[in-house]
Amino acid sequence: MALSGNLRDFTITQLLNLINLANKTGTLVVEGPSQTAKVAFRDGKLAYAQIDQEDSSLASVLHKAKKLSSGQYKSIQQDAAHISDKELGLLLINAGYLSKEDILTNLQQHFTDIIQRLFTWVEGFFHFDNDSLPPDDRISVRLDLENLIIDGSRQMREWEQLQDEIPSLDMALKFTDRPGANLRNVNLSVEEWRVVSYINPRNTIRQIARATKRNDLEIRRIVYGLLQAGLVETTRREGASTSAPTVRVFPTEDKEKQKSLVNRLIDRIRSL
């Protein structure tokens, strides 16, 4: 039977575990909400990974790792766009500019980073194409999956914990009016500031995630940090529908009768 399904039912960590145990060869295609990732394996080992719409050429990987300067990267793009990754790698090794280990280490790091990002994908579909491997002109690696699986398990536990802490993304956030809470004294990352800029009782956490292009795990992580620091608190979204529940709270619509009812309850409890 084809290996395919939904990330809600089968996490990336579980998939890696399966691929590792079954020594699978092929490509795992994961379609997330906004991107698609392709991760190739050979005999249960990571061989290659890329996210569509992202430049995963060797030149780009080495540039991001600061092994190539911006000028060098630009000139490779302009003058050597037609040469394959394998050819570029050989040129760099033969020129004595980089060693084979340098190239493989940086590619491994790049592929590992992609897998780490995949761990944050909790929505999406996957399928495994048996025996499909990356194009011949790309350099593949041979990386054991055990360490990645352990990392993924840690993230899974974190995800479960964050779900417990922030069970609903339909709540809004507001700044605490606690004295002493001061955003200016807190060191926030760019991503956190971006989230902070949307904090308003009118915006749900889900809307903030959409506006800041954060997935469920990432937005929960940021919001959890802000909650723990005591800078924000959850609140019902302003303007949210407060339609009466199907069962009425009070047996009467009359406000005075409602108050009288509560007072009768108070008297009764006092007399117990």
């Binding site: 922030i166 609903s168 339909d170 005591g230 608190e233 069962v247 047996p251 509560v262 108070i266 009764r268």
Partner: protein, 180 residues
């Protein structure tokens, strides 16, 4: 006959059943089952799987029902059903088991999302020497100073009465503020 209801919620073994039992005029209709999990069994032998149900007759026209929610998360599908039409709710927290505080906070938020009714947080088992200090609990539970966090001993009727009264005062005060 008019009926109103309040919900008593909180983590596993927080004292919800005892709370209702202390004030209910009927024997609490409790759907308890023996616990299968070893870790939970070390805390108590039986737990509520669907709901507890207590009653206080106010007068010939009015009855207050108290519903206790199941404490184990795997029965949380019952929560939304039980929260329908509630006048307010009480979140019971076992002051001696800090490992349950995070879950208590999560339950509070879930219930508040179901219905924006007034609530009181009840710091139960305050008579025990391992009980956390109320203000420390407030910090860990991330409760605003406006949220009522009240000391409680669920087996003591007066203590339970005080919690119910605090909730009723909050309900009354919200009604009066809503009119302004």
């Amino acid at each position: 006959m008019q009926t109103v209801k309040m919900v008593v919620t909180g983590p596993f073994s927080a004292g919800k059943t005892e709370f209702i039992r202390s004030v209910s005029e009927i024997d609490v209709v409790s759907t308890e089952r023996k616990i299968s999990s070893a870790s939970e069994k070390s805390v108590k032998e039986a737990t509520t799987v669907a709901m507890d149900f207590g009653r206080i007759t106010v007068d010939e026209d009015l009855v207050l029902y108290l519903f206790g929610t199941p404490g184990q998360r795997r029965f949380d599908f019952m929560w939304e059903i039980l929260s329908e039409g509630m006048l307010g709710f009480i979140v019971m927290v076992d002051s001696t088991r800090p490992e349950t505080f995070r879950e208590a906070r999560s339950i509070l938020e879930t219930f508040h999302a179901y219905a924006p009714t007034p609530y009181v947080v009840s710091a139960n088992k305050q008579d025990m020497k391992e009980a956390w200090d109320i203000e420390d609990m407030r910090h860990v539970l991330r409760l605003d100073s406006k949220v009522k966090l009240v000391s409680c001993v669920a087996t003591d009727r007066d203590s339970v009465k005080a919690i119910l009264l605090e909730l009723l005062y909050s309900i009354l005060s919200e009604m009066e503020n809503g009119e302004k």
